[in-house]
């Protein structure tokens, strides 16, 4: 079986749009993915027919909303094969989830002189929360270096992750380079040294199957909007025993069991970490997005995207003066490149004028650009609704931009 791309494209209304008079070619999926009609409709339907606040109302609508919301939690639990529903914490997204871990696990378990290890390919959201923690707790942030092809070496990881390491926080797939990191091996190294590990799956969850129990990840985070769901949604997975040890993050709403002027007792998992009214409609639509991906078949998505990546890499490599950044053996569907003597911004602006959406700049991963000594790259990132014809349009666009800018 293979994917019916024409049918899939018909499911995404925005792909029929014209931008600046040209047929949209959307290749900025690393920043955010487009939404299928089912996801848009799920959010709309909830607001039009089922909306009420959840977890507190005794009335019909509140119970409907609560059931829908909690069913998504079960669905996500199954999707990533977590052991318990309450190990799934709904967040605003990846950044929010990492900050939650930094503020709770970090403040309770990481002390002066302890070490946190990340890689040089992290995006800012997996650097800054740890820098803030290190400043406060006088702990040390270490970086596993980036190699020329955009991968990391396990020897470096072995050297840097030691008994002093309390947490390893590492991206599964680099948003800037597409590198797929050796997560099972990194988890084994972290655990061997008694450290916990957080896997940032923001660029992975939409591309291949993730099984948190098979991986033995302590934490795993992702954003809803990168897996065809709404913005402002996301997930923090954590092992029950670790989440139970962590203090709450924000106060108020569902995280409370009882409050008096003498003090407060906190709610149990997962509500302990879900203060305030959550993005109910967004979470329900996230469930629809995950179902869409599951129904399509994530193994077929992976196979198709791999084929598309190989094709695009071959085609782009043939352009004279084009250099690829991130040529690791294991890659997801991200291609970063630069045209010799041409600033990425200029290429992005001209492609935009042709209806082609790519990302230019440092992609919120400035240390990666510093490593290569470049200001940024042009990045084409593919989803399973992209086609080889669109790769061809991209190539034509790059050649035209090159001619205009040379």
């Amino acid at each position: 079986m293979s994917l019916n791309i024409a049918q899939i494209r018909a499911d995404f209304p925005i792909l029929q749009e014209k931008i600046r008079g040209k047929q949209l070619v959307y290749l900025d999926n690393g920043a955010s993915t487009q939404k299928p009609h089912a996801v848009i409709e799920a959010e709309k339907y909830y607001y039009e027919h089922q909306y009420a606040n959840i977890h507190r109302g005794v009335h019909y609508l509140s119970q409907i909303g609560t059931d829908l919301y909690e069913n998504v939690r079960k669905q996500i639990r199954q999707f990533i094969n977590a052991k318990h529903d309450h190990e799934i914490i709904f967040t605003k997204g990846t950044t929010n989830a990492i900050n939650l871990v930094a503020y709770t696990f970090g403040r309770k378990f990481i002390n002066e002189g302890d070490e946190i290890v990340v890689t040089e390919m992290e995006h800012h959201s997996n650097i800054v929360p740890w820098q803030m923690l290190c400043e406060e707790k006088k702990c040390v942030l270490k970086f596993i270096p980036l190699q020329e092809d955009g991968s990391i070496s396990l020897e470096d990881a072995e050297r840097l992750i030691t008994s002093k390491t309390k947490l390893v926080s590492v991206v599964y797939v680099s948003n800037a380079l597409g590198t797929i990191n050796p997560i099972p091996e990194l988890i084994a190294i972290a655990h061997k040294n008694g450290a916990k590990i957080l896997v940032d799956a923001a660029q992975a969850i939409q591309h291949f199957t993730i099984d948190v129990r098979a991986l033995d990840a302590d934490f795993l985070v992702f954003s809803g909007h990168k897996i065809y769901g709404p913005t402002g949604t996301g997930v923090l997975y954590g092992k029950e025993e670790i989440l139970n040890e962590m203090p709450p993050y924000e106060g108020g709403g569902d995280m409370i069991k009882s409050v008096s002027f003498k003090g407060t007792t906190y709610n149990d998992l997962p509500f302990k970490f879900e203060a305030g009214t959550p993005n109910i409609a967004g979470c329900i639509a996230l469930g629809t997005a995950v179902k869409y991906v599951q129904d399509t078949g994530i193994e077929y998505i992976r196979a198709y995207e791999t084929e598309l990546l190989q094709y695009a890499t071959e085609q782009l490599s043939q352009i004279e003066g084009l250099k690829l950044y991130g040529t690791a053996k294991h890659k997801s569907s991200v291609i970063s490149f630069l045209m010799e003597g041409i600033y990425p911004y200029d290429v992005g602006v001209l492609l935009d004028n042709m209806g082609i959406a790519i990302r230019t700049g440092h992609h919120c991963a400035q240390p990666v650009m510093d490593h290569y000594g470049i200001p940024g790259t042009c990045r084409a990132s593919f989803a399973f609704y992209n086609t080889k014809e669109e790769v061809y349009v991209l190539i034509e666009g790059i050649l035209k931009a090159k001619k205009m800018l040379s």
Partner: protein
């Protein structure tokens, strides 16, 4: 010396010759290439304009009560845009610059063609040039 508005009108006329935005970009690119480079010593962090996706430097000098701007950017399209601003505002009195109303950006359609990130850079450039105008009025 042409007034600020005369120069703006001239640019609007130049751009009106092109229907296609590719041609307008070609014009901007060529214009960017023709912009005299800023002296390397002025490419400092202090002279850098923030808010642009690319790096932009702007240096101003006052000579005989008139302000002259010198600019550069890594990106050629940005350089073209800042070049247009330099062309419009350079060589006028600080008061004229501070009080100028830059209508050409909207008239040539440049603003609507720029994403907010890029438009923010444009706004930062104009703000910086006008700030120089205000600051030098005291001299």
């Amino acid at each position: 010396m042409q007034s600020i508005n005369d120069i703006q009108d001239e640019i609007i006329e130049d751009f009106s010759m092109y229907d296609d935005w590719n041609d307008k970009y070609e014009y901007l690119i060529e214009f960017g290439k023709s912009l005299p480079l800023i002296d390397e010593q002025y490419k400092t962090e202090e002279n850098r304009i923030h808010g642009c996706q690319s790096r932009v430097w702007l240096h101003a000098e006052l000579k005989e009560y008139k302000l002259y701007f010198f600019a550069d950017s890594d990106a050629i399209i940005t350089k073209g845009i800042v070049g247009l601003l330099v062309k419009v505002l350079s060589g006028h009195t600080p008061k004229e610059i501070a009080e100028s109303e830059l209508y050409f950006i909207e008239k040539i359609g440049l603003k609507e063609h720029l994403s907010p990130t890029r438009a923010n850079g444009l706004v930062s450039m104009i703000k910086k040039m006008k700030t120089y105008g205000i600051a030098f009025q005291a001299h």
